[in-house]
């Protein structure tokens, strides 16, 4: 699972039927301090996250299992919103 920051939304009218009625968000992988450090990709939102939130992204077949779409091309899903990250006995990120 990845730590990722929600950058924005993606709208697609023409898409596979398994993606109908899904909410697609642009997410960018982040490090354990919450700083963006990778290339953006799209993920299906399952938890109602919004822009600029730090979220947990599940990839691969785990993402397919997490959604209702058993035979779908979904391979990235937002499965949680992070409230805080702690390591080395310090809180590195806290949601305002």
């Amino acid at each position: 699972m990845l730590i990722a920051r929600v950058m924005g939304t993606a709208v697609s009218s023409t898409k596979h039927k398994a993606l109908l009625a899904t909410k697609l968000l642009i997410v960018c992988p982040a490090n354990a301090d919450g700083d963006v450090c990778g290339d953006p990709f799209l993920a299906v939102d399952l938890v109602g996250s919004g822009e600029d939130e730090l979220v947990i992204v599940s990839q691969g077949s785990s993402a397919r299992v997490a959604t209702d779409y058993k035979n779908s091309p979904v391979d990235a899903a937002i499965v949680g919103i992070l409230d805080s990250l702690q390591y080395d006995e310090k809180t590195r990120f806290r949601k305002e």
Binding site: A21, L24, E51
Partner: protein, 110 residues
């Protein structure tokens, strides 16, 4: 983050360009489902929430404006979220409302 949600007519400053004229409506039974739908819609796509209207009996309607693809995405996300919380009575998108329709709906920015 630009705040787009407005529930009163004083949203004159929220200028919408002519392409963002699709109108989406979602009607719920109950206020909690209505607010949940509004939140889900605002997070799902780049749309403007222009009105929240109660017509009695617990029926609440939210109107959104934007590009037709964005409005469709937002309505689907809003309905999905609201169904878990309350009853969704109707959702409808008008991709290009006639100007006569705009005249009879106060609060919709033309």
């Amino acid at each position: 983050m630009v705040k787009k949600s407005q529930t009163k007519e004083k949203s004159q400053s929220a200028e919408l360009d002519p392409e963002m004229r699709a109108l989406g409506m979602i009607e719920t039974r109950g206020l909690v489902a209505c607010i949940e739908a509004a939140d889900a819609m605002a997070k799902a796509a780049n749309i403007a929430l222009t009105e929240r209207r109660a017509i009695g009996g617990g029926y609440m309607t939210i109107m959104v404006r934007g590009h037709v693809g964005a409005v469709r995405t937002a309505l689907e996300a809003g309905a999905k979220a609201a169904k878990l919380v309350g009853e969704v009575e109707a959702i409808k998108i008008l991709p290009a409302p006639n100007s006569l329709v705009e005249d009879i709906l106060p609060g919709i920015i033309a």
